[in-house]
């Protein structure tokens, strides 16, 4: 059976003038992106104030995150300087102490060992205490010899504690001390603050969504007549929604940029005093800023929240506006 080839139907009117779907979408989005930026620039003060509110809201959790991050880094550097002091028994002589120091150097989990003999301890005490002449009246040196042990900084505080406990049981050791309780407290506080920052970030993210959503809601109300006309001439919801979503995008992006400016300003403001403070503790610690990923997170977070706020509001309100 011969099958007649069907003549292709002529294109619907105007279809030859339409761009391919992807080009049409890209062109449409690019056009709206620029159009919405133009719309926002018509009312610069209002736009700036909204962006400022978003910026401050984003800067707060980002700034607190930086604070926690810096304290964490600082505490790790303190952790590296953790040291255990092994006070040797009075009957342990210099040679035995030296031999013990040598043994400890080879022991796993120990980074460095420094032996301070009784004479050296006395000399140091004399130099730093200011009781030089008073010490002269002592007939014997009351200070014990000390082996200062620097644990491997890669170890956790709990492992270091176990190490010191085992060192305390050595026959030559009279007493072993490790002053890390304050560090543990700091860790606990940091953990609370870290979780608090997460909670605050979630709440403030919701606030950004509400701020953008409310701004877009007013925008929708102001453009109600335009939306009705658009629906009447056959605009699909996606087309009508697009400018509002891009408005949310611009609010989020500008809010993110303002947040970065605020954080940078805060970092500049505290950098010098922090450097002076760390210098007083013989440290070269410098306040760390946001990483590249952090910068992207603030900007991306701002954009995502702006977009989400706009989407949430437009979805709720667009369906309520119908031509009557």
């Amino acid at each position: 059976m011969s099958r007649r080839k069907r003549k292709p139907a002529p294109p619907r009117d105007g279809s030859e003038s339409r761009m391919p779907l992807l080009s049409r979408l890209a062109h449409g989005h690019a056009q709206v992106l620029v159009f919405t930026l133009g719309q926002l620039s018509i009312k610069p003060l209002g736009t700036f104030l909204t962006a400022l509110v978003i910026g401050i809201t984003l800067a707060m959790p980002a700034g607190l995150h930086l604070l926690v991050k810096n304290l964490g880094t600082l505490s790790h550097s303190w952790e590296r300087s953790l040291q255990a002091s092994l006070f040797l028994k009075e009957d342990v002589d210099d040679a035995q102490a030296q031999a013990l120091s040598q043994t400890l150097r080879t022991r796993p989990g120990i980074d460095q060992v420094r032996y301070i003999s009784r004479d050296e301890a006395m000399a140091q005490f004399r130099e730093h205490s200011g009781f030089g002449e008073a010490l002269d009246i002592l007939e014997t040196n009351p200070l014990p010899a000390v082996i200062v042990v620097f644990p491997d900084p890669k170890q956790t505080p709990a492992t270091i504690e176990l190490l010191v406990d085992s060192l305390a049981k050595l026959p030559e050791v009279d007493q072993a001390t490790l002053d890390q309780q304050w560090l543990q407290r700091l860790y606990a506080i940091l953990e609370i603050v870290r979780r608090g920052v997460l909670l605050l970030a979630a709440l403030l993210a919701a606030a950004v969504v509400v701020v953008v959503g409310n701004t877009i809601r007013l925008d929708i109300e102001n453009r109600r007549d335009e939306i009705v006309v658009m629906k009447l001439v056959g605009a699909p919801d996606g087309f009508i929604r697009r400018p509002f979503l891009y408005t949310g995008f611009w609010y989020g992006l500008s809010g993110g940029l303002i947040a970065l400016i605020l954080i940078s300003a805060a970092l500049i403001a505290v950098a010098d005093p922090a450097a002076r403070l760390s210098g007083l503790y013989d440290s070269d610690y410098r306040v760390a800023g946001l990483s590249f990923l952090g910068l992207l997170s603030v900007l991306g977070g701002g954009i995502a929240l702006g977009w989400l706020g706009a989407f949430w509001t437009v979805s709720r309100h667009l369906s309520k506006i119908e031509p009557t």
Binding site: L25, H27, E322
Partner: protein
């Protein structure tokens, strides 16, 4: 030929209990032009809204271009409206946009290239004798010119069907004659046109079918010139 509009036993009751359409059945053929007349509250606007899928009748079937409007939802309503051109008494223009932007809007929605939009907008403005007013804002135009901008917007995408709801209601008689002339010219090139109007004097001598509504019921159909109708504005 299948009708472009077909009403089958359509009734509509508003939420306040008012019946506006009552078991209405009529059709409009492809390429036909007709006038819809009737007193205020007779159901003319409701009928046009039903065709434009702006409301769903309480009962009956409205079929436009072969599609039963009771079955279309969401994005298909927008597609349906893209196939018809709607003209309103109050123009429904965007006053913060130029004439060009207003007329080109249906084509922007369809994703046309700018140069094609420009070509089509000029052609549409030429058809309503507004060429040269592209950069003007609607508020600087007279009522008749604004209505012609509305018509240009309705015809720019070359729809199969034009609906006009009291298009001459806000215009002086001379302007109104011009507007009716424009509709006739479109009908002559094959566009189906349905015009709801009070202006019985304006259409009395025109050789088109008249669909007269009284309290939501079809009271009379026939050529205007043969009808003996009394329409209370």
């Amino acid at each position: 030929m299948d009708p472009i509009i077909e009403f089958k036993d359509v009734s509509h009751r508003y939420q306040n209990g008012q019946d506006v359409l009552s078991r209405l059945s009529f059709s409009l053929a492809h390429g036909e032009m007709a006038f819809l007349t009737g007193a205020s509250g007779a159901g003319k606007s409701t009928l046009l809204k039903a065709i434009a899928a702006m409301l769903r009748p309480s009962s009956g079937q409205v079929i436009v271009g072969g599609a039963d409007l009771a079955t279309i939802r969401g994005g298909r309503i927008a597609t349906h409206r893209q196939r018809i051109g709607i003209i309103f008494q109050n123009f429904n223009l965007l006053y913060d946009r130029t004439v060009f932007d207003n007329v080109g809007l249906p084509l922007v929605i369809r994703g046309w290239r700018h140069q094609d939009i420009a070509r089509r907008v000029r052609a549409a403005l030429d058809a309503v004798e507004l060429l040269g007013k592209e950069r003007v804002y609607p508020l600087t135009l007279s009522g008749g010119e604004q209505q012609r901008v509305g018509i240009a917007r309705a015809i720019v995408a070359k729809p199969d069907l034009l609906l006009a709801d009291e298009p001459t209601g806000n215009l002086d008689p001379e302007m109104a004659q011009d507007i009716m002339g424009i509709f006739r010219r479109f009908n002559e090139v094959g566009v189906s046109v349905l015009v709801a109007t009070h202006a019985i004097d304006l259409i009395r001598q025109l050789p088109y079918r008249l669909i007269h509504l009284e309290q939501g019921r079809l009271s009379e159909q026939g050529p205007v010139s043969h009808g003996d109708l009394h329409v209370t504005p």
